[in-house]
Amino acid sequence: MKQHICTSINGEITEFLCDSSATLLQVLRDNLQLTGTKEGCGSGDCGACSVMFNDRLVCSCLVLAVEAQNSRIDTIEGMATGDKLHPLQQSFLEHAALQCGICTPGFLVAAKALLDTNPSPTETEVRFWIAGNLCRCTGYDSIVRAILDAAEKMRHAETGVAP
């Protein structure tokens, strides 16, 4: 029997029906057509399906969709505000922090989770935080730089002092 779930996705109240065995990733992609969240492994090893679940960074392939009842889910589709990109998104573009781009949404969600709790991470902190997100194209160099640069710009935007 399908379960009826009511949750908040990117700030919008959302309802869906799902099997109790369905993962949050499957529902996001297949039921809700939010395909910005990617499946790279289905086993929580690659981070391509990273989303925020009640302000916690999770692999949506490891979350059952029924767990989303009365929760708050944030995905890559909700990161920009209208046509204004989040500073991390802008930074990834400027630093060429993507080649094929399949891992990019997961990295952005993970990086935002880091900066939300630690606005001035060190390079080492960034590298360990994103160690759960795999990228096979970039060697991570440009991704780490993009995150550090975005963090700095966000700090300065906060204090109003130009970097």
């Binding site: 057509q33 395909t35 990617k38 086993s43 589709e77 949404p105």
Partner: protein
């Protein structure tokens, strides 16, 4: 035609935001698994649980009877491919093998080998249907290791495999598909002149391309046979050609629509699911979507060949290399076709050596058919060759870069595989590496520095580009090559350069197989070079046409009009006149209609690529764990069109090579079943494993490209294996010859060396 001579470049060499960037940071870009159609069925593949077995009987009736199941296909549904149809223009692949790889015929040759496919209304029904397919197997002895597979008593995979390249031909079948010999000079004479010889044996393990996007596709077949395939691949024309040949269909009946590709690295230069989806869609009358799981990707696609290599070099006391010799045995996987010949050709290509003899064996084993992986065949051969060069440097007490400079191939050097080099930048990479602060930085305890170089041919090939002037003066650039790492940006930059306009006025598009003429696939480091050449020529034609249009409007001879800053200019009746792209576009109706140019060409003159990498490591003497402390990649890139994406190629290739050197390997149980088909246990480098990867772009322009472009993408994966191994060997004062250098392996080599020193 050269745009780079004597004129400052305005777009080429800049770093604009890529045209597809916004889509990729917002989640809007449509990758293969993101594409859906209403009414689509879900396809699934039944795979062999055995490494080697005969299929005695297969009954699909129960699966077909399951409610919701709409179609089942097996090898019997695939057309038989005749000898004449086996290849296209005598080039690989062999379509009989490819057909038997996508659905096993009679025998399964590796764990994960596809034997049947089903389409059902949902994934659960499709998975249940797979369990209802009744298969009776006769399990056969299997062989995984390349050296064991070459033994006379090894289980034989293909009863009709007679080794090619041996005269007289062997009478008995074996797992050696072919023997390849490459002789340059007289290697015996060469070694007789040597004061020092260095000999060693090396092994490397197969490694997967490990693109983060698993294979996926959607197919739809109309009742008249018209077929559409949506998928991500390294070439929509490749998918069309391969499906047509495998399914005996005319090319005109198939349209392949390229979706964004989530990494390929060579691994998506063939088909696995697409023909199955077409067959299922045809049988069911409904669209069929298929997706591989990560375990399927590991079990049944890729990898790069594993290898066993025995190699020897000889040098004079002053370091001059006089001879090199090698025997290379590469695992092809279940079907012939490892890149061993390319290994033989590339191993010593960076060096001017008068006498070289290389013998390669292409060997089948009970593993997934190997696939191209970034500079196919080169990294493992280079690992062996560059290790020997390092051992020679230690023996001679010579600086390893000095030794390489002394023997470096230059313009005019005849390669061991045949042709002579024209303009190359190998020496420049060595000099840049020597001058880099990294090379002279102090090292601490348990630390070592390794250097290695690499060579790759780079290719040109058949390429098409179409440029259209829109009615408002903006420009569309259409090409037929998937953008795997930022090539839209480089196409737009080259068009903008020729048109002398802002790159943001150029919109590049990757179009389907019915919208542009044929292009070879995205591979061989060819796109920026060859497709870029087509784009450049099309833009040049567009400018010529626009000058004529302006001449018509001004009523002056064509030759009086020139082009500057995106405008036609001329002196008309004594006054300076100017017509912008927008003005010319607006008046196109009056001057002959829409303005467009299409160029199809077979690009020649791809400039060879060379790179030199420096790697510092620290080795934990208690555990054998290797930490990469610092890494610098230097490469002759000809001309960097978008330097950020060129640097990205160097960094990404280096990271993959580091993974190959230190972590990545397939583990099998006694039955030949893969034990680590997932990213948890097949560990590619993660961010915390790596330092920043510094890059130095050396630009020795390729004179046969309008902007001097050389291919870039493949060279960077070649030097890391040797660079890391040389660093670990120097840090531990013990030679490491087997990859990956996992902690237990490193520790064992260190302990053995310590015992020898006692």
């Amino acid at each position: 035609m050269s745009h780079s001579n004597g004129k400052a470049l305005r777009s080429v060499g800049t770093r604009p935001v890529r045209p597809d960037g916004i889509d990729k940071v917002t989640g809007r870009a449509v990758f293969s698994a993101d594409f859906n159609l209403p009414d689509a069925l879900s396809g699934a593949v039944l795979r062999s649980p055995f490494a080697h077995a005969r299929i005695l009987r297969m009954d699909t009736s129960k699966a077909l009877a399951l409610p919701g199941v709409k179609a089942v296909v097996t090898a019997g549904d695939l057309p038989t491919i005749s000898d004449e149809q086996a290849q296209i223009n005598d080039q690989p692949p062999d379509f009989r093998d490819l057909s038997a790889n996508i659905l096993a015929r009679g025998k399964v040759l590796y764990e994960g080998h596809a034997i049947a496919a089903v389409a059902a209304v949902d994934t659960e029904s499709a998975q249940r249907a797979l369990q209802l397919i009744d298969v009776e197997y006769e399990v056969l002895p299997h062989v995984i290791d390349v050296q064991q597979a070459m033994e006379p008593d090894a289980p034989v995979l293909h009863e009709n495999m007679i080794t090619r390249g041996i005269t007289p031909a062997p009478t008995r079948p074996s797992n050696i598909a072919s023997r390849h010999e490459q002789i340059h000079g007289d290697v015996e004479l060469g070694f007789s002149q040597a004061d020092i010889t260095v000999t060693e044996e090396f092994t490397t393990q197969p490694v997967h391309q490990a693109y983060i996007e698993p294979h996926a596709c959607m197919a739809r077949v109309a009742s008249d046979g018209q077929t559409e395939i949506w998928c991500s691949s390294q070439g929509q024309f490749m998918v069309r050609a391969y499906c047509a040949r495998l399914l005996a269909m005319p090319l005109s009946q198939i349209r392949v629509i390229p979706l964004e590709i989530g990494g390929g690295f060579g691994g998506k230069t063939t088909v696995y699911l697409e023909p199955l989806a077409v067959m299922l869609a045809r049988k069911s009358g409904r669209p069929v979507k298929m997706e591989m799981s990560r375990a399927d990707v590991f079990r049944a696609t890729g990898p790069a060949s594993g290898s066993y290599i025995s190699m020897k070099i000889g040098a004079r006391k002053d370091g001059t290399l006089v001879a090199a010799q090698g025997i290379l045995c590469y695992q092809a996987g279940a079907f012939a076709g490892s890149p061993v010949r390319l290994g033989c050709m590339t191993a010593f290509a960076p060096y001017d050596i008068a006498n070289v003899k290389m013998i390669g064996y292409d060997v089948v084993v009970n593993r997934a058919k190997s696939a191209a992986y970034r500079a196919p065949g080169a990294p493992m051969a280079s690992f062996a060759a560059e290790s020997l060069i390092d051992m020679l440097a230690l023996r001679l007490d010579m600086d390893p870069i000095e030794l390489r400079i002394k023997n470096a191939a230059r313009e005019g050097t005849r390669t061991a595989y045949g042709p002579g080099f024209r303009e190359i930048g190998y020496l420049e990479t060595l000099e840049a590496a020597r001058a880099h602060p990294h090379y002279s930085a102090p090292l601490g305890k348990n630390q070592g520095r390794g250097v290695a170089s690499g060579f790759w041919f780079n290719i040109g090939g058949q390429s098409s580009a179409a440029i259209t002037l829109n009615e408002d003066g903006t420009v569309m650039v259409a090409t037929g090559n998937p953008d795997i790492g930022g090539s839209r940006a480089s196409m737009a930059l080259m068009a903008a350069e020729v048109l002398e306009i802002d790159v943001n006025l150029v919109r590049p598009q990757i179009v389907d197989t019915s919208s542009i003429a044929y292009s070879d696939l995205t591979g061989g480091s060819r796109v920026t070079f060859a497709v870029g050449m087509a784009v450049t020529q099309a833009a040049t034609q567009l400018v010529a046409e626009l000058k004529q249009r302006a001449a018509k409007l001004w009523d002056v001879p064509d030759g009086q009009v020139s082009w500057r800053d995106g405008c036609a200019i001329a002196i008309v009746d004594g006054s300076d006149e100017c017509l912008s792209l927008a003005a010319l576009a607006a008046q196109a109706g009056k001057t002959g209609g829409p303005v467009a140019a299409h160029v199809s060409l077979n690009a020649q003159g791809a400039g060879p690529g060379f790179g030199t990498h420096i790697c510092d490591v620290e080795v934990d003497s208690d555990t054998g764990r290797v930490t990469v402390l610092r890494y610098t990649a230097v490469q002759d890139v000809g001309r960097a069109v978008h330097p950020s994406y060129v640097e990205g190629q160097l960094q990404g290739g280096a990271a993959q090579g580091i993974g190959w050197a230190l972590n990545e390997a397939y583990l099998y149980d006694d039955n030949g079943a893969l034990l680590n088909p997932g990213f948890l246990d097949y560990r590619i480098p993660v961010a915390s494993d790596l330092p920043m990867i510094d890059t130095v772009l050396v630009e020795v322009p390729n004179p046969r490209h309008p902007f001097g472009v050389r291919g870039v993408g493949e060279v960077p994966i070649i030097p890391p294996l040797g660079a890391v191994a040389n660093a670990v060997s120097r840090a531990t004062a013990a030679r490491h010859v087997d990859l990956p250098m996992s902690p237990p392996a490193v520790l064992k080599t260190m302990q053995r060396a310590a015992r020898r020193r006692r």
